[in-house]
């Protein structure tokens, strides 16, 4: 599925300074029963966000109207666990376009890139600075520039570079997806398939 193009984004951020945030927290399994990709944002962080009687948990950051924005800042090893793309869908559907962490789990990172959410991996130092800046002023904004692969704290001008491979960067910038690419080389694939013994 093609997705929105991504160039630059300037936004405030929502902090979640917890390590090893796993996909079962991002979207619990019982919400994976849909057959269409809709409405997952409502259940993003469901069990951290709501009590069992469905009332909001006041101390959870998504229930604190102070914090808004299209950037989610998480602790180290964000997105570990399941391959469920629903986790990335929930993040996207809630309204986030960028997730920042000092380390991402592999499959989650790939899933994000496949649906147009940009995972930005920064150093532990820079991550801490971001948390501190948001803590000091929840209206502090960040700029994420995909073309220069930089994330900048607007108030101080401090910035850091992040990695993304050229191919994926091109896809994100243009809103292309992998399937279009593969369908274009289908003849190669079919030739290759003939050589496979099983």
């Amino acid at each position: 599925m093609a997705y929105d193009k991504f160039n630059t984004l300037t936004s405030t951020a929502v902090p979640l300074p917890i390590e090893n945030v796993d996909t079962d927290q991002i979207i619990p399994a019982r919400f994976l029963k849909a057959t269409e990709r809709q409405g997952f944002g409502d259940n993003l962080f469901r069990d951290w966000r709501y009590n069992q009687d469905n009332t909001p948990k006041e101390d959870f950051v998504l229930n604190n109207s102070k914090y808004t924005g299209k950037i989610l800042v998480g602790g180290k090893n964000f997105g570990s666990g399941s391959s469920r793309e629903h986790a990335a869908w929930a993040v996207y559907d809630y309204g986030f376009r960028v997730v920042v962490s000092s380390f991402f789990a592999d499959i989650f990172r790939g899933n994000c890139l496949n649906i147009g959410v940009l995972p930005v991996q920064v150093s532990a130092d820079f991550l801490q600075k971001m948390f501190d800046a948001i803590d000091a002023d929840e209206n502090t904004a960040f700029e994420v520039d995909l073309s220069t692969q930089k994330i900048t704290m607007i108030a101080t001008g401090e910035s850091e570079s992040f990695d993304i491979n050229e191919y994926k960067k091109n896809n994100m910038t243009n809103g292309f997806d992998d399937i279009d690419y593969l369908l274009n080389i289908k003849t190669n694939i079919q030739e290759f398939a003939k050589t496979r013994p099983i």
Binding site: N20, D24, K33, T35, S82, E166, Y167, L183, N188, I189
Partner: protein, 471 residues
């Protein structure tokens, strides 16, 4: 490029259709396993593009994540689950994919049935929209979990785009102690590496401990590779592997078998091949393991005490939050903690060997009254073997019942949910907050630990019960 190659490189390189400069490889996929939860949106994507499945004969669908484990002959009560199952059946039929739905004799957990029917073979590339696809690496295959966009990609093109991971080798040498199983080896490794220690790597397991393991044991180890962050794990195929695969329904036959064997016999890491990272552990030092926290890396030998927060790497806040959720204190011993539930099953420990291990302990004993036990075979084939081998009689005699196959309490999408606050000893793979039901608390362990705890009603070192038998 050097001529010496790792096992991983040999399999990967033989599947590269195309390499994109500064980008991923286009990797051909030999086997694609599909289940009801992560596939509907992928099939919808095909429909929107107006295309079909390129290789339905390389695609296999089974229903497992959402299915009930009792009364499978009745219609599925939960309308959302029923709808997902119906969608999978319709999609499979529409695209000519073999479908092993509820009640089908070959039905079971995707990673259990793949090997059982010879869909899993050495040297293959295998993907599925479930992270524990790494299980199939036990056969010397490259197997990993994928997201739904990738499921659509493989359905449409039989290829996937992946940057080549780095290579790691984990050697476990020596012999395992009495009462120590493949599950303990895996939980031990994860406790050493943490849940992100192998992120970005594909792991090869080597050394005597894996060489001497059964195929079932190897599957348990490879299954848990993802829990240390690795994309997958694999073990070089040997006579044991070939013997296991031979004659299975979907395995190559006749001349095709000989051709396959020519390739399979080259599948080992060359002597001088280089790994990006290499670790070695002494297997004789591993104890039966148990987890105490909310990720699989928070595990320890069952006789140890929960580490204090000043001893752990990483954030003390996260660590404390985790123990708080589990209602444990730093320094606690796990042994003797009263439990409420026991779950034997999942693609980690739902194979026949796991039921044999469980039965070996509960035989002649009784289930503790305060324990609710769910014994869920990984497939109908496992279920049949449990009956044939007389294991059913043993567990029934001890007060346990056998349920019908499925993922069950591994992810608690069906009704098998551990209630809030309750403590479960589980042979599955994840102890995340709420994984086995909202508010549930999970201790990951081997089938032996699960069995010992099920009869005593508290966390128990299985060696205590096993010793009694041997004296």
């Amino acid at each position: 490029m050097s001529k010496t190659k790792t096992l991983f490189d040999k399999v990967w390189d033989s599947h590269v259709v195309h390499t994109i400069e500064n980008g991923p490889d286009v990797l051909f996929i030999d086997r694609h396993m599909v289940h009801e939860v992560t596939s509907p949106v992928a099939f919808l994507g095909l429909k929107n593009r107006g295309i079909g499945v390129l290789h339905p004969e390389k695609t296999f669908a089974t229903a497992d994540h959402n299915t009930p484990t009792i009364n499978q002959h009745l219609p599925v009560a939960d309308p959302l689950s029923a709808n997902q199952l119906k969608m999978l059946e319709e999609n499979a039929n529409e695209h000519g994919i073999s479908y092993w739905g509820l009640g089908h004799e070959k039905n079971g957990i995707v990673h259990v049935v793949g090997p059982e029917y010879g869909i899993t073979v050495p040297g293959a590339t295998i993907v599925c929209g479930d992270s524990h696809t790494s299980t199939h690496g036990a056969f010397g295959a490259i197997a990993f979990g994928i997201g739904t966009s990738e499921v659509e990609m493989v359905l449409a093109t039989q290829c996937i785009m992946q940057p080549k991971p780095k290579r790691m080798r984990i050697n476990v040498t020596g012999a395992l102690q009495f009462g120590v199983t493949s599950k303990d080896v895996a939980l031990f490794i994860i406790s050493q590496l943490t849940t992100s220690g192998a992120t970005g790597y594909f792991v090869e397991y080597a050394g005597d401990v894996f060489k001497n393991m059964t195929m079932e044991g190897r599957m348990t180890v490879c299954n848990l590779s993802i829990e240390m962050g690795a994309r997958g794990g694999m073990i070089a195929p040997d006579e044991k592997t070939f013997h296991y695969v031979k004659g299975k329904e979907f395995a190559p036959k006749g001349d095709a078998w000989d051709t396959a064997m020519d390739f399979w016999q080259t599948l080992y890491t060359d002597e001088d091949a280089i790994f990006d990272k290499e670790l070695t552990f002494d297997g004789s030092l591993i104890e039966p393991m148990i987890t105490y926290g909310t990720n699989p890396g928070m595990g320890m030998g069952i006789t140890k005490d929960i580490p204090t927060s000043d001893m752990v790497q990483g954030g003390a806040t996260t660590y404390k939050k985790s123990l708080q959720y589990m209602k444990f204190d730093e320094g606690d011993s796990m042994i003797g903690k009263p439990i409420d539930f026991v779950f034997l099953g999942s693609c980690t420990n739902g194979r026949i060997e796991d039921f044999r291990a469980f039965a070996s302990i509960v035989k002649g004993r009784k289930k503790s009254d305060n324990v609710t036990a769910w014994l869920v075979p990984g497939s109908h084939k496992v279920e049949a073997a449990i009956k044939e081998e007389g294991i059913l009689a043993i567990i029934n005699e001890a007060g346990f019942e056998l349920r019908e196959p499925g993922c069950s309490a591994c992810l608690a999408m069906n009704d098998d949910k551990v209630p809030p606050g309750k403590l479960a000893v589980s042979t599955s793979n994840r102890n995340f907050e709420g994984r086995q039901g909202p508010g549930s608390r999970t201790l990951l362990a081997s089938p032996l630990v699960a069995a010992a705890s099920a009869v005593t009603g508290k966390v128990t070192d299985p060696r205590d019960l096993m010793k009694m038998e041997t004296v």
